[in-house]
Symmetry: C2
Subunit: 215 residues, 2 copies
DNA sequence: TAGATTGTTAATCGATTAACAATC
DNA sequence: TAGATTGTTAATCGATTAACAATC
């Protein structure tokens, strides 16, 4: 059984933010911090910060606060950043290329081990030391290389078919940039979605809502 | 006063998803749908769907359901997708290029009117019919062109200084891909964050949590 | 009219905030 | 010891779900 049994989604979503702020504090040479000070920095209440951290253990010390470096390390461990999950990326278009080049996978618990595309002009090239293979070779590659997760950077129509093949290959973890809804067909998979369109529409809504207010 | 006064964040976040599913139903030629059927498709409860929609008005009909096309159009309007907000994009690296090329801004209430970068090799080029300018010309451009929003696709260190300049130019709406926390300094701005690192870490957490469970 | 399904109120559930005793 | 701040329980707040009357 997971030692952090059934942590609620809102708490988990805040963990990376804690991790980020603690990292910044470390860079600034701050060695200890109280929930109150963190609260001022981050915009969460001090109470919430203490509640969140206590889901995982008592990392602080009464009358003193939290040790910045220790807490940073603890959260890294909670997030599982010490892992090196093998990930493949499907779709080497603009978005796939950006994800491959831009992300520090190693710092986030992953290692990118292969990139796939069905454009013959891209196949055989190398991005960030990683070879681009043809999607036809997906099965071959996955038999030869243990693969933990797939990153989907392809259009919706292509995503459905590829997802089916990946599932069949035993891959159960997905970072999904496509607009295809993975979790509908297979309930036993873990999907983290990045829906850029949704995000942009939410910005549009908020801009519009404020404008209406002014009238 | 906004006619959709104080809609809660969870409801707003679900709107783009409704919009997406209704669009798919339209493509399939479905003309009406009940909250129950939508519930099965989308994984929300029927009750929640009815509650959500009723925040904005009674779009359904008892005994019949919701008209797919009408509801789709209504949600587009609620989201403000009929607008054409002028947006500029700062940072034409891999990520910025992907965002510029990949997104259908027009369908999401925006129009991309300029791209900025400080790399002289990029300045003067054209991406998707949009010119790339030097960041030095930001002020000049914004004086000459009405600008509603800025898309930040640059590294954290650069983001802080640029954000300050943009704020000074009167830009209050941001789609932020950088790891710089905009909202801290200026509380009067609207920021929609896309934190890819956070998203990847959450995937890592969930993969790790499941693994621990198995032991 | 009878069946279906919404709109809406009431009940439940969960997350956040407040308060304070424990303790460094 | 006195002051500060955590860990934790209790109170509040808000979101989701259930139920059902209204009505197409």
């Amino acid at each position: 059984m997971n030692k952090y049994h059934s942590i609620s989604a809102p708490v988990i979503k805040r963990l990376p933010r804690y991790y980020r702020f603690l990292g910044e504090l470390m860079e600034k040479g701050v060695s200890r911090i109280s929930s109150r000070e963190l609260s001022d920095m981050m915009g969460f209440t001090a109470s919430q910060i203490r509640q969140d951290l206590n889901c995982f253990g008592g990392f602080g010390q009464q009358g003193y606060g939290y040790p910045v470096e220790g807490l940073h390390r603890e959260i890294a461990h909670i997030l599982g950043l010490n892992h090196s999950y093998h990930a493949i990326l499907i779709g080497a278009g603009n978005l796939g290329k950006a994800v491959a080049m831009h992300m520090s996978f190693e710092k986030r618990g992953f290692q990118l081990i292969g990139i796939f595309d069905n454009d013959p002009r891209k196949v055989g090239s190398v991005m960030k030391d990683i070879s681009v293979y043809h999607t036809d070779d997906l099965e071959k590659f996955c038999f030869e290389n243990h693969t933990d997760a797939a990153i989907l950077c392809l259009p919706k129509d292509a995503a459905a078919a590829i997802a089916e093949r990946l599932y069949h290959l035993g891959i159960r973890n997905y970072w999904n940039f496509s607009h295809y809804d993975l979790s509908i067909s297979h309930p036993d998979i873990i999907v983290e979605n990045v829906h850029l369109n949704d995000s942009l529409m939410i910005l549009c809504y908020r801009m519009t809502a404020v404008q209406d207010e002014d009238n």
